[in-house]
Symmetry: D2
Subunit: 362 residues, 4 copies
Amino acid sequence: MSSNSFGKLFTVTTFGESHGPAIGCVIDGCPPGLAITPEEFRHDLDRRATGKSRHTSQRREADEVEILSGVYEGKTTGTPIALVIRNTDQRSKDYGDIASTFRPGHADYTYWQKYGIRDPRGGGRSSARETTMRVAAAVVAKKWLAERYGVRVRGYLAQLGSIAPAGFDWDAVEHNPFFWPCAEQVPALEKAMDALRKSGDSVGARVTVVAEGVPPGWGEPIYGKLDGDLASALMSINAVKGVEIGDGFAAVAQHGSEHRDEMRLDGFTSNHAGGILGGISTGQAVVASIALKPTSSILIPGHSVNLAGEPVEVVTKGRHDPCVGIRATPIAESMMALVLLDHALRHRAQCGDVGVVQPRIV
Amino acid sequence: MSSNSFGKLFTVTTFGESHGPAIGCVIDGCPPGLAITPEEFRHDLDRRATGKSRHTSQRREADEVEILSGVYEGKTTGTPIALVIRNTDQRSKDYGDIASTFRPGHADYTYWQKYGIRDPRGGGRSSARETTMRVAAAVVAKKWLAERYGVRVRGYLAQLGSIAPAGFDWDAVEHNPFFWPCAEQVPALEKAMDALRKSGDSVGARVTVVAEGVPPGWGEPIYGKLDGDLASALMSINAVKGVEIGDGFAAVAQHGSEHRDEMRLDGFTSNHAGGILGGISTGQAVVASIALKPTSSILIPGHSVNLAGEPVEVVTKGRHDPCVGIRATPIAESMMALVLLDHALRHRAQCGDVGVVQPRIV
Amino acid sequence: MSSNSFGKLFTVTTFGESHGPAIGCVIDGCPPGLAITPEEFRHDLDRRATGKSRHTSQRREADEVEILSGVYEGKTTGTPIALVIRNTDQRSKDYGDIASTFRPGHADYTYWQKYGIRDPRGGGRSSARETTMRVAAAVVAKKWLAERYGVRVRGYLAQLGSIAPAGFDWDAVEHNPFFWPCAEQVPALEKAMDALRKSGDSVGARVTVVAEGVPPGWGEPIYGKLDGDLASALMSINAVKGVEIGDGFAAVAQHGSEHRDEMRLDGFTSNHAGGILGGISTGQAVVASIALKPTSSILIPGHSVNLAGEPVEVVTKGRHDPCVGIRATPIAESMMALVLLDHALRHRAQCGDVGVVQPRIV
Amino acid sequence: MSSNSFGKLFTVTTFGESHGPAIGCVIDGCPPGLAITPEEFRHDLDRRATGKSRHTSQRREADEVEILSGVYEGKTTGTPIALVIRNTDQRSKDYGDIASTFRPGHADYTYWQKYGIRDPRGGGRSSARETTMRVAAAVVAKKWLAERYGVRVRGYLAQLGSIAPAGFDWDAVEHNPFFWPCAEQVPALEKAMDALRKSGDSVGARVTVVAEGVPPGWGEPIYGKLDGDLASALMSINAVKGVEIGDGFAAVAQHGSEHRDEMRLDGFTSNHAGGILGGISTGQAVVASIALKPTSSILIPGHSVNLAGEPVEVVTKGRHDPCVGIRATPIAESMMALVLLDHALRHRAQCGDVGVVQPRIV
């Protein structure tokens, strides 16, 4: 299988470099008959887009999706759906000075070591620009999940540097540029981000994604477990260094009598497991969190080497998010949606669209 | 691809239930010419085995590996290597009483909901017994990694419940039943575990795995990243709820100037990244950690339901580890070895066995 | 994906050498709830077995299938089904003299060139002994196809050397050792085969397989076409040099007005297409034929080279079928069954278990 | 794996409908450092293009390839290469009348039965227009095969209806619109084709492809055999109903003493096997042939049904090749090139870039 493809039955293949002519994807395995228009991509692409607020990178592009195939008279036909977005804001001058040096903490060095060649324009293939197409592909997946299975996937920023939410309200999340679940803290976040940008530094973040409505039974033991596939999907997002399902690392210090989710006839009494047991969904909400490292492209000088093998000091100018984690929220939702739809189809293949197996408590 | 197969080019397919006739695996894609004998599986299988100390489950089996194919006159031939271990200690009476109930926190319920049928003997396919074959398969992978690439993979218990190591010494790890890196703490650990078992409860654990000698360049962006594949591999281990690469979740509160690993001509000055940038190995040690939840099978009664849809109280008797995380150390090493060899071969396929690409700082 | 695995959703992985300890397979993706017993493998394994008549190789083995996993109380559980057959009739002395020479027309030379090592005992992995496990795996597939979809797969010998059937009767096929569809010709075939064996030579054969009851809609354009997958499956059988769907090579000299199958309300008026158009089943019988080359292991001396790079003359003694094509009939059926079930599941994944799409003419 | 993807390590994913906005492909796994420009696609695309002579369909398009990704400063970077060709000659009026009927012998009916929806414009996804992208992708593969391995792939028309070549000369093949290896027959072929077009009917064809320079050792037994993969690749071409390797179906009537290719120190004495034994290349030329059925879209009325379930008589007007087999020559070459490069990389992954294993006779 191609390393630029994701998903076994709902397969998304992405292509494109940050400052090449275009980025795009091919969605293969989409069930036929789903209504989809170019306009439907707008909402989630805007949520992911840079330049949305002063707290994210100032790259400004229309990100207009063109559907090249797989849709006829507004409906999917079951054949591959190709989506393309032209790169219009290619300020390659911003990046020209880094073609011969390796930014510390960046993929510059590893791409060079792997391939012996790299496209330095905006990070080339290693840029988070690629995630635009994950979000686009997931628009299709989310719609199918919602229409066919009643599944809803949404996420929020669960930590910004060392700041944690003081309250939780889903309604707040979509009404501030941080995807933050506590409206009262937003001014403080703005202030903290302004100070951070001024300092030329960056911070990490934590994002949590929740899928509601997932029926029990999705996930394929042993090596296609739902949590295993989520881990791979989420870890593949730029800057992610950790993945948790449910309580995650908090489970290390828990006792079994505390962690296990007891079952009553009217449902589970808790959800420490994050909706997955033995790699299969329980019917509860599927909950995953990710850790994103602080942006490596910062204004503070750092030691590195250049192509000539000489020591250099690197300062990364240009437009960069001081916290890449903020924009990761819709990307993480997208990866969860892609995993879930893939497993919905895999479950259907092996076990059919079976009705409820009794007893079902969720 | 089969959901019971792992790896793209070095592919391991496992089969078998905890108390069925046998467990086994098929290794496909092993390079030809590697010397291997049944005896070489002994060491790692013993490290993983239950019944090794009083702190792990008391199932006692010889775990004798039989090589059914793929080896001729002591050398791999390039054809699939099948390994089988007969299950000899099948105390199915231990488990008979749980055939009609669902243990809280266990995969009983989800397997039932997925398949409408399950093998209740010892947890069937969901049992950690399956991981025996991962360890067996990884013996082959580890040997090839060592001989061909000079890579060494080893792990240790990095937290036991709320106890963290007070010191670190690789030499200590293999000389106590906890894979603990600080010899002085071992008596305290023994005491804590005895108390835990007496209480009928269990705790979680954290395991860290380190691969030294990995050259730069292994890993395939975007969806076959080395860290993405490690995340999937490690999350697929029973009871794992979280995966970290390098600093993992600690990176959330870090600043970019702190997290990024600067480069000098004589190497990186730190390894916050855990040896991976952009999904590709940097040449530093690859470091991953996992969170294991506390064992769900405990003696403390818990609420659940049964097959008849009635509320029940469940007490899981029989032999169970009060901390499954302890034995996870060799399993986690094994998964990392399988991922690394797979990526070694994938790198060789696309980029060849290239020599050093200058400048190489590691 | 492993090269010793076949099928995307109903995945069969085989292992084992002709004269190693055992041969076996792992079936992954089998739907749960199918009743299966070790005895059910007997019939098709006997049909494939050598030593059945004096016209096939005289290797005599019980070919007892042991089910190692995936079946609980007589029903499949959805987890991988491992089947193993011990090799009991290992006359490795028969083959000892060929360890250092390459038989002309045999895989000896190519295995050596590929791997730099080979298991010479009975041809090792290249032996048709491997096909035993295809037949075993297909017993499961055939049963599911019959029970769930009403599909029946059967085959016959359509040419033996230059002898073609003089008549056609499905009932005759299973009542002679040649799977020959014309009972009157059987004595003549016996005579021809006796003469052939006496001459020390061999002949080729043609086998045709037919699947009835396949609904329209199975097959995935473009690179997972039903005919494309059948071609790969059938070509993978030892000694096969050609594959045809429907009229096959006869279509070269046909006109479009003759070849196309016209449609009327009560069905297609012909089946030149062999039940597949655009890679998707039409609802008619799926018909495929294969060409099998004459056995290369013969008593007539042939020029070759040995491991030392010297010219040698090779005579292959031991037990060999003078026409490998005869036993290929159940193997070809098996491969078609595996392809069909895989596509049934793939269709279900993408398109669901839809009812009839009007108009349906078959 | 996606059904619109081909190849395990050199993976090509195609998309696009005959009369949609564009067709395209994504090539994943291309080794880095290969020089490639948009102009290099011109030659083979012209060879495949319709409208080249009066004997092929009169669709006229520039088929300008745009490289959207994966190439930097004229060299491949190892990241996915996306190629797109805009559809400019969309005479959808030609096809409008067939949206509600099913052409006999065409994929109209099966796409409808599979998906419950279809894009009727020019056959949509089932059109041979898709093969344009196979040819484009293979330009990259052919170049790598030539530069890295010295492999050359070329093909010719081996039969046109009932006309067979009267002589053979590779030099003639590229100098007539039929890819015919005998220059003297070209006038007769022109005449036959003109008569055929006048009659409104069509004929089948046979194409043979030859790869020279393939080293011994490519191909992966058992289910990734070189001939198995070739069979799948070639059968996936529109209108193909049969595939042969080497002597193919002629082997049915041959004796073993005649078919086997004897070996001498200076090489094989014949090539009945078509360069493959046991699924692995022998080092001889790899030879495959395909049977193409006559075009189903003809001017002669045929019985069919329509969407309303009524009987209709269908006449397919518009531009259609009276012999689709002619243009299949470059397509068949392309598929062989894709298979060979994929296997080159697979071999390198498992066995390395080994030197000659002695004795090598080719």
